[in-house]
Symmetry: C2
Subunit: 235 residues, 2 copies
C-alpha cells in the first residue's frame, strides 16, 4: 500500500485517495474489473467493510460502477449530462456532419486549453435534426496523438466522436469541464445555422480530459438561444 496522505486521516479516506490515484493512473481499463472487495481489503490491510465504504464513495462519485456477480469497473464519463444536450430536440434523432477537417497552427486560446502549442487538428462539425442545422461546433484535437483521426475516412468517424477517438487512437475521454455563456451569431455561424445575423446563441465551451487529466479535446458549440432550455433541481 502506498500512503499518499496524512496518517491522521481515517483509513477509509487514505484508502480512497490511493485507489483514486491508481484509477487515474489507468491501472484498470474499462473492461477489466478491479480486484474483488476481499482482495483489495487484504492488499490494503483493512477490513472488507471499510473497503466496501471506500468503493461506495467511489461509486457515488461516479468513478466506478459495481455490478453484482461481475465486479467493480472504472466508469466512462456521463456525457448524457452535457449542457449541449439541453438544446430542444423533441423526439427527433440528431445527425452529425463534418464540414471541414484541417491541420492548423493552434490559436492562442486553443493552445492554452490543450496545453500543446504546436500543430492541431481542427474539425468543423454540424449537428442536424431532420436535415435542419441546430448546432455548430469547432473541435480542436492535439497532434500527433490524434493523427489517426486526421487521416480516417470522414464516414468512419460516425455520429459519435468519443467512441471514434477511442477506436482510432485508444484515448478515452473520462471527464470534462463545460462553460455556458450567451453570445451573438457571427456572420459565418448565421449562415451555417440559418439564423439572423447577430441573433443570440448559447455557447458551450468544453475541455475534455483523459483519466490522467490530459486535455484530449477542446470544443466550442453554438446553437440558437431560443432552442436552449436547462432545468436544475435545488435541494
Amino acid at each position: 500500500m502506498t500512503q499518499t496522505d496524512d496518517a491522521r486521516l481515517p483509513l477509509h479516506a487514505r484508502t480512497h485517495d490511493d485507489l483514486l490515484r491508481r484509477i487515474r493512473a489507468g491501472e484498470w481499463p474499462h473492461d477489466v474489473p478491479l480486484p474483488s472487495e476481499g482482495e483489495l481489503a487484504a492488499e490494503y490491510g483493512i477490513s472488507v467493510g471499510t473497503m466496501r465504504r471506500v468503493l461506495g464513495t467511489l461509486t457515488s462519485d461516479g468513478l466506478v460502477e459495481r455490478r453484482q456477480g461481475r465486479g467493480t469497473f472504472v466508469r466512462r464519463a456521463a456525457f448524457e449530462h452535457s449542457l449541449a444536450r439541453f438544446f430542444r430536440a423533441g423526439d427527433r434523432v440528431p445527425a452529425s456532419r463534418i464540414l471541414d477537417r484541417q491541420r492548423v497552427a493552434a490559436p492562442a486560446d486553443v493552445a492554452h486549453a490543450l496545453g500543446s502549442s504546436g500543430e492541431v487538428l481542427h474539425l468543423l462539425r454540424l449537428r442536424l435534426l431532420d436535415d435542419e442545422p441546430y448546432l455548430v461546433e469547432d473541435i480542436w484535437l492535439p497532434l500527433p496523438a490524434f493523427e489517426p483521426v486526421a487521416v480516417a475516412a470522414l464516414d468512419d468517424l460516425g455520429d459519435l466522436l468519443y467512441p471514434a477517438y477511442e477506436r482510432l487512437t485508444g484515448l478515452v475521454v473520462a471527464a470534462a469541464t463545460e462553460d455556458l455563456s450567451v453570445v451573438t451569431a457571427s456572420a459565418d455561424d448565421a449562415v451555417v445555422l440559418g439564423c439572423a445575423d447577430a441573433s443570440p446563441l448559447v455557447r458551450v465551451e468544453r475541455s475534455a480530459r483523459s483519466v490522467t487529466g490530459q486535455v484530449l479535446e477542446h470544443r466550442i458549440s453554438r446553437g440558437p438561444a431560443s432552442r436552449f432550455h436547462y432545468r436544475m433541481e435545488i435541494s
Copy 2:
C-alpha cells in the same frame, strides 16, 4: 414503524422511504435533532449499522446534516447553487430593492405554478451591484399564507427574502426547481436594467417548495445575458 413500500425491497430502502416521509411531514423542525441512531434503529427494529446507512444516504442527498456530538438535523435548501448566482458579480456585494408590492389576481401561469388561483402577492424586486441594476425579479406569493409579508415594512424584508419569509410566516423553503432560458428584454425590463431594448437576457424561473412539496414562491429573474456564465463539471 410504518411500512410504506414493497416488502421485497431491502430494509434500508424501506426505512429510508419512511424516514423521508416523516421528514417531509415536518416531524422535526430545523433546530431539533432527530432521535439518535440507536433510538431510530430500535424504533424500526433494525440494526444500528443499517440505520447508519439510511442516515448516510439522507445525508448525501442533502436532506439531513449530521454533527458529531450534537445529533442529526433536517437541512435547509442549498441556494448557494442557484443558477441566479452565475451572473458575474466580481467581488462586489449585491444589494436588493423592492420596487413594488401589490395584491393582484394571479395570472394563469402563476396560478398554475402556485397551485392557488385566488389573490396573490406580487413583488417587483431589483438587485444591484454598486447601485447598478443587474437583475430584475417578479415574485409571486400565495395569500393568505403570506399576508404578513404583504403588511410588513419593506425595510423589514431585508436583502434576503427566504429568512424573512420564515421570520414572518414560519414557512421554510426546502427545495426548488429552476428553469434557465434566454429571452429578449421587454421595454420595461430594458428601462429597469438600463440595457438596450430587445437585448438578450438570461431568464431563470424558480418554483420554491416547502418540505411538504407545497409551492411557496414563484419567481422569474432576468439579467443581461452578457453577465451570465455557468460552469459545470462532467465526470
